[in-house]
């Protein structure tokens, strides 16, 4: 390739104390190319793009912009050179309007009125509709991302960085994004694209750079690689295949939900409406859906964090439990793993043994005559450590000191060691590295094989395809009828996640029946 690259990093290094977040990274960005940046959590992707965007100062090494040395004092200088960024955790202000959010991402050289006019123009040109007067908290995740993208495009960037842009989108929303990205590429802009989704990278990107442990492993053409060869470079070793037991049998219904409805308890919440399903022992049911469609509310209703009016709406192992507290439900043999590890799944500043007690006190013999049996709590920690390969600095550290993957293994292990008959788990491998994710998925399969009913809520369709028997989709507080995983194509699930009904007539009749009954 002739000429000079748009951006080149030479031996770029970032040290935090003795920890090398980036170790002598060389990377070249060319115009009219979509360049993928791959790596596991903690591989140094975020540090690298933050350095390129001027948010982090490199410890060593240089950046060359169009062949000339560039030192950035901050993001506004990066923006003025033509570098734009769309953040993974959106850098938006919930209580400000769309237009105000966009104005904050620009350098304020034009009046607010001119800026608003240009906002409308850019959003129309790229087919990213936005209402400038709405406050961000009112918007869906997809709309929020549109703000980020429009804001970056309004700077007319030569180089755009996107940090895991499709993590929160439905497949259809992601497709719309790819159309925009292809168009930006055709306009001669360079794009750096961070993603975990290897199929997406293979389809979209011209070049891929793989990071592992802060070092660059290779730069390659993703179209010439397979998904598994890319994964191998990211992880550094083969990932253990997750295997379901061959002779798994379904038994009696363990978890039954009958026409569950629940009003939201906060203004941002979703109302659950007419949710029904039956889950047998030995079975794994997956719940797919874009975040914020009622999954959190469903988890709260199943776990007993929120109680239903009618006891019969939630039946655990044959007992009506809709009105029972979490502890009573645990005594019936249910176990729960919430989505948020720190703060919900564990108390961050408490030791693992204390966290074991927090869910185990109900039914694991950890409390005798009102006194805590410390030996029992510690032995739970040891057992979980051994069975699930939890890596930690000492025997009983604070929960917050563990890495995400290891803490998640501990939490899942803590619940599975109680031999539950029903396990409800939300986002079991969210933000967990591939090795730990494989351990957790295998554990869920083994638990089902031993006769328990497992309900998995996840936004990762590949995960659901890998471990579940049936998949249902949540949308706006409704749950679709479960379909066998073997028949659940991405297209079908994507349509359901976007609110389409596979059988619209049927649903209409149901609604009409409810209306008539009410």
């Amino acid at each position: 390739m002739g000429g000079t690259p748009l951006l080149q990093t030479v031996g770029l290094t970032k040290r935090y104390g003795t920890f090398l977040a980036n170790d002598a990274i060389d990377i070249e960005i060319w115009p009219q190319q979509i360049h993928a940046l791959l790596g596991e959590n903690g591989a140094g992707k975020s540090t690298l793009v933050k350095t390129i965007y001027g948010l982090v100062q490199p410890s060593e090494g240089d950046m060359l912009w169009q062949g000339e040395k560039m030192v950035l004092s901050g993001p506004s200088e990066a923006r003025s050179r033509g570098i734009g960024m769309v953040f993974q955790h959106f850098s938006l202000f919930d209580n400000l309007t769309v237009a105000e959010n966009v104005a904050l991402g620009l350098d304020g050289r034009e009046s607010f009125k001119d800026m608003s006019a240009r906002l409308e123009e850019v959003s129309n040109v790229y087919g990213l509709p936005l209402d400038p007067k709405r406050e961000v908290w009112q918007l869906s995740v997809g709309e929020r991302q549109r703000i980020e993208i429009v804001r970056a495009l309004m700077q007319n960037p030569k180089f755009l960085i996107l940090d895991e842009p499709t993590a929160v989108l439905t497949p259809q929303e992601a497709d719309q994004l790819f159309v925009v990205l292809d168009r930006l590429k055709a306009e001669g802009r360079a794009i750096l694209y961070i993603s975990h989704k290897l199929d997406e990278v293979k389809r979209l990107c011209d070049t891929a750079t793989i990071l592992r442990g802060g070092k660059k492993i290779s730069t390659c053409n993703p179209k010439a690689e397979t998904a598994s060869s890319l994964a191998r470079m990211m992880v550094g070793s083969e990932i253990k295949e997750v295997k379901a037991a061959a002779n798994r049998q379904t038994t009696v219904p363990r978890l039954v939900v009958n026409d569950l409805g629940l009003e939201p308890d906060d203004p941002h919440g979703v109302r659950l409406q007419h949710i029904s399903f039956e889950l047998k022992g030995g079975e794994i049911l997956g719940i797919a859906g874009v975040a914020g469609n009622g999954q959190d509310e469903l988890f709260a209703a199943l776990s007993g964090e929120r109680l239903a009016q009618d006891p019969g709406t939630v039946v655990i192992d044959g007992h009506a439990a809709g009105h029972l507290s979490i502890t009573r439900r645990r005594k019936l043999g249910a176990a729960f793993v919430p989505e948020e590890r720190l703060g919900h799944g564990t108390a961050p500043r408490m030791r693992l043994s204390e966290n074991a007690l927090l869910t185990g006190h109900a039914a694991s013999g950890m409390v005798q005559h009102g006194f805590v049996n410390t030996a029992a709590t510690l032995s739970t920690v040891d057992k979980a450590t051994k069975a699930f390969d939890v890596r930690k600095a000492k025997r009983d550290p604070e929960a917050a000191s563990l890495s995400g993957g290891n803490l998640q293994k501990f939490i899942v292990g803590r619940e599975i060691l109680r031999n539950p008959v029903v396990l409800v788990v939300s986002q079991p491998t969210w933000g967990v590295d591939a090795g730990a994710a494989a351990v957790i998925r295998q554990a869920l399969l083994d638990l089902a094989a031993s006769g328990a009913a497992v309900l998995v809520t996840s936004q990762d369709l590949d995960e659901l395809a890998e471990i579940t028997d049936r998949i249902a989709v949540m949308f706006h507080g409704h749950l679709s009828a479960p379909i066998p995983t073997s028949e659940a194509s991405r297209e079908k699930l994507g349509l359901l996640m976007g609110g389409a009904s596979l059988d619209q007539k049927n649903l209409d009749q149901k609604e009409a029946a409810h209306a008539a009954g009410a």
Binding site: L55, S76, F87, S91, F93, D94, N95, L104, W137, H268
Partner: protein, 305 residues
């Protein structure tokens, strides 16, 4: 009717220190910083303001002394909570205790002295209009200044880019940092503005309200100012209404005692706080979403670089 005019004049005077201090705290809190040291900054402002005026013989010099004293005290708060990332609530409470002690030390030699209070506006013809004349055109300069300040703060927050950035910092400091705004620097200015306003509010008491200094003369007005910011749901317009309402309650409580109304004065003194609680409940019920308070209020921010 004489009585009504007198009551309204007294209400305006009683409300002004509340309005000044609350306006400053509103800016501080809009930037995401909760400074509970308003009472301390006010009382030091009162001592230094009186001292400055007594030594120089000038009300304006006294007011400036109050402003500088309040701002300096808030700078201690800024260094602790922003520079060293210390807990804001603890630091604010400590600042109040420090301020009360410091004002006693500074003000000890001024106790018992007297100055000529700030002059009232007199426009021949206008001021002499019956009933409204003295209320609209016969106040002291601080009252006009406090109203101008609220308008200026409203204009700053909603009409200028700097105000937008300040609100953004208070809503989400992580995002503001990611976009390249100097979060800690912006917050330091906001804290110091709050300190300066509290200092001025404190100085108003011995310079215009009562022309002498006594220790502890702020008598909890700093706490009322804090409640007022919440009452106003962090909006300058409502702040004016709230301040005059709270001022009115204070004055009416005095008159009620004079008229022999059988309501315990303690209950009357508690009214502003009760009103704040009720307003908070009403706001949170009326609003469908989003947050009324600056979302980052009271949280510590440590940028990674």
């Amino acid at each position: 009717m004489e009585l009504v005019e007198a009551i309204i004049l007294a209400v305006l005077a009683a409300s002004t220190p509340l309005l000044l201090a609350a306006t400053g705290e509103l800016i501080t809190e809009r930037a995401g910083v909760l400074n509970l040291g308003v009472e301390g900054m006010m009382i030091v402002g009162a001592a230094c303001g009186f001292g400055g005026a007594w030594l120089s013989g000038s009300i304006i010099v006294g007011a400036l002394c109050g402003i500088v004293a309040g701002a300096l005290l808030s700078l201690i708060f800024a260094l602790m909570t922003l520079g060293l990332a210390v807990n804001q609530v603890a630091t604010g409470l400590a600042l109040t205790i420090l301020g009360i002690g410091l004002s006693g030390l500074i003000g000890a030699r001024f106790v018992g002295e007297k100055i000529t209070p700030a002059p009232h506006l007199h426009i021949p013809g206008l001021t002499d209009i019956p009933l409204v004349g003295r209320i609209l055109f016969g106040e002291d300069g601080f009252i006009y200044l406090s109203l101008a300040l609220v308008v200026a703060v409203w204009w700053f927050l909603y009409k200028t880019r700097a105000g937008l950035i300040l609100r953004a910092v208070g809503d989400n400091h992580v995002s503001a940092h990611a976009l390249g705004y100097p979060v800690l620097q912006i917050r330091m200015y906001a804290v110091m503005f709050g300190g300066a306003c509290a200092g001025l509010a404190g100085a108003y008491l011995p310079l215009a309200y009562t022309p002498f200094f006594i220790p502890g003369m702020t008598a909890g007005r700093g706490w009322i100012a804090l409640a007022l910011v919440v009452f106003a749901s962090w909006r300058p317009g409502r702040l004016v209404i709230g301040a005059y309402l709270f001022g009115a309650v204070t004055i009416l409580q005095l008159h009620a005692q004079g008229w022999g109304v059988g309501v315990p004065s303690q209950l009357m003194s508690a009214l502003p706080y009760l009103a704040t609680v009720i307003v908070l409940v009403l706001i949170s019920r009326a609003r469908s979403g989003g947050s009324t308070a600056p979302a980052a209020l009271g949280t510590v921010f440590v940028p990674d670089r």
